[in-house]
């Protein structure tokens, strides 16, 4: 025995021992087969609510129970695409965020991994009862592949404690220009290092989402209703030129506490950003993340780009889709309806996450009128619902994520251009903005034209 041991190094024996033990354990702990239907979601609040509804459902339908699983967005996207591309196991029902859906629609319509819901929605007369714009991100080439979860109107969340202490009256604010002018005194340098430690808007050139939010609010757009890219429209160039003056130079008023980044909550707590673009879900997240800051935030409709302009925008969006791989499409559809259409869900959704439902029949529910102590007793549910009809439409395109990134690139380059040439006024930045947008438009068109599958379907 000793001689056998000495034949090889201790390393080999250690690894061999690990191999034997782990093999035995892996063999003894077989992967549990999933029981009933699976539902994947990427958001903890969604998972919580779906869990409640699933409990009710499972009592009533013991033969087709639903099990809800929470997975990160990135992993959900990879696993979903892997399932659609190569038949790896996927859930029966998947909640998909707007930024993840693009690739699902990049192949032939027949290859979309979700069940086409268009006929079901028409047959059961469900379409008219749901906020029409909410379907748009889930529709490709005339087919609807998901039930919409939300509207996600955007308001401006601001540090009411700091603003009110400075004696600023926000009711006088109508436009972004008003907002920045009135709040400018709040951009203080607290530690005396010559740099502001407070900014007025939570956004920066590298932001992936906020440019689109502001662009859509101002009437700009990335795609037309037929999913053709419209990045280089002149209005877009004017809006971006103005945004650049917010982001850089002596006129800078915006900096970012990147949401989802590790330091965001701490920076928000410190008052690094006085104002934030806040869709309903964000209002829900903040009140859970920093409950001790209750009473220090309030919401107001977005300041408009021009007097009388749109006072809201849209950020994010989720659908529930039924995968073709699932064996029980009709049971999945029944659960999906119970989860998304019921007033119980609408209530829970508002209660847990402050998200307002796209189901018009539920808009009159009294809970939307309850004052929210976290937001200085504002009736924020009603405020969001009142903005719902104004929410801009967003057509879907497989090239949406790429376009979003290109938009971010344009803003980054425009700011660099402004810094290099020391140009910080809108008129001198418009031509460069237009040039950059033309370039981005050409890029996205080239990518779309390359796709043989989209071509074949047209």
């Amino acid at each position: 025995m000793r001689s056998l041991l000495k034949l090889f190094s201790p390393g080999l024996w250690i690894v061999l021992l690990m191999a034997v033990v782990s093999t035995v354990l892996v063999a003894l702990l077989p992967v549990r087969p999933n029981h009933g239907m699976q539902m994947w979601t990427f958001d903890a609040n969604h998972a919580k609510i779906a869990g409640y509804i699933a409990e009710d459902w499972n009592r009533a339908h013991p033969s087709t129970p639903v099990q809800v699983k929470l997975i990160t967005g990135a992993a959900l996207q990879t696993r979903m695409l892997s399932g659609f591309y190569s038949d790896t196991p996927v859930a029966d029902l998947i909640e998909v965020e707007r930024s993840m859906i693009g690739q699902v629609f990049a192949g032939p319509v027949a290859d979309v991994g979700f069940v086409d819901l268009t006929d079901r929605l028409d047959r059961e007369n469900l379409r008219t009862g749901i906020n029409e714009p909410s379907f748009s991100p889930w529709t490709t080439r005339g087919h609807i592949f998901g039930l919409p979860h939300d509207i996600h109107p955007v308001m401006l969340m601001y540090r009411s404690d700091l603003v009110e202490a400075a004696g600023i009256d926000v009711s006088k604010i109508e436009t972004w220009d008003d907002y920045f002018r009135l709040l400018r005194p709040l951009m203080l340098d607290l530690d005396g290092d010559g740099r502001p430690d407070r900014y007025l808007l939570n956004s920066s050139p590298t932001s992936l989402f906020y440019h689109e939010v502001l662009l859509l609010q101002g009437g700009g757009r990335l795609f037309d209703n037929a999913n053709h890219p419209k990045l280089n429209e002149p209005l877009n160039a004017r809006i971006l030129a103005k945004m650049a003056t917010w982001y850089t130079g002596p006129t800078q008023v915006a900096a970012e506490a990147p949401i989802g980044g590790t330091s965001a909550i701490q920076l928000i707590r410190e008052g690094y950003v006085i104002g934030m673009l806040a869709p309903d879900w964000f209002a829900g997240q903040i009140r859970v993340a920093i409950p001790d800051m209750a009473g220090k935030f309030k919401l107001m409709p977005l300041p408009a780009w021009e007097k009388g302009g749109r006072r809201t925008s849209v950020l994010g969006g989720t659908m529930l889709g039924i995968t073709k791989a699932g064996p029980t499409t009709s049971a999945a559809w029944a659960f999906a309806k119970q989860l998304y259409l019921s007033s119980d869900t609408a209530h829970r959704l508002y209660d847990v996450a402050r998200i307002v439902t796209p189901i018009k029949a539920n808009w009159n529910q009294p809970f939307y009128d309850e004052p929210d102590p976290f937001y200085g007793n504002q009736r924020i549910g009603r405020m969001y619902i009142q903005l719902a009809p104004e929410v801009p439409v967003r057509p879907s395109s497989p090239y949406y994520p790429m376009t979003q990134q290109l938009l971010s690139s344009v803003v980054i380059r425009l700011c660099r251009y402004a810094d290099e040439h020391r140009l910080y006024d809108v008129p001198s930045l418009v031509p460069e903005a237009q040039r950059l947008l033309d370039e981005a438009q050409a890029r996205i068109e080239a990518q779309i034209n390359r796709n043989a599958f989209l071509r074949a379907d047209r």
Partner: protein, 289 residues
Amino acid sequence: MSTPDHRPLLRPSTLVIYVLLVCFGLLTLLPFLWMICASLKSKQDFYTSQFLPPGDGLFGVAWDHLSLAQFVRLFRELPVPRAMLNSVFLASVGSLLATFFCAAGGYALAKFKFPGRELLTTLILGTVVLPGALLLSPRFETLYHLHLVDHYLGIFLPAVAPAFGLYLFRQAMVNSVPNDILESARIDGCGEVRIFFTIVLPLIRPMISAYLIIAFIALWNDFITPQIILQSPELQPLPVAIFELKGLYAADYNLIMAGTLVSIAPVMFLFLLLQREFISGLTSGAVKG
């Protein structure tokens, strides 16, 4: 080889060298220290201090603010134990198989003459230059057609035949296995399999240990392959699982740091135990002697 003590290359005062070494050493270790501190701190303390939270305790540190709560959470509430098992399983079985297959293949190429040997050797060694990324797509396609996507075998089968490993073992066989021993064993009537196990493998013992550790660490740290091939969370190893945790609990910095620490610790331990073999194995391909 030993170098004479009075070797004069770059010899300012030894003190300067020590100061430099300690400085660079600290810079190298700082991220580790920071991570250990972060994993022990509460979320509130994470921002008030970069390392240990200040307080009234010994050395002005608030020792009572530190806790192992995040480690408990990792193993009690989160799927980290399963991911750890998967990592141990994939790395240990994979590295053993790779070492064995490469040793056997290297032996055949180094110690036997057979038609096609030269061609085969050139072919296999030629693929060393192919970047891994080139093979990613077609390999995934092949695994898909073999129904091995989302299966442990989808990781093992491609990992057990690294061309570079074969090259290392072929070199080792040429250098340390004398032909006379093999011939006399055959004359004594030893079977080929027995010769391989009882004579050849012990002779290349250092190479085996070294390659085993290299393969183990490479498999342990691999992110992209399990990310593509394995989809079920029950099958995924630590790098994928911890990265998933970072997405789900983005604000629980201490938890993520604890998870990272737990994932690094086992290979660190193995490396400390076998560092001499590891380093000599790494350099044996590049440096003679």
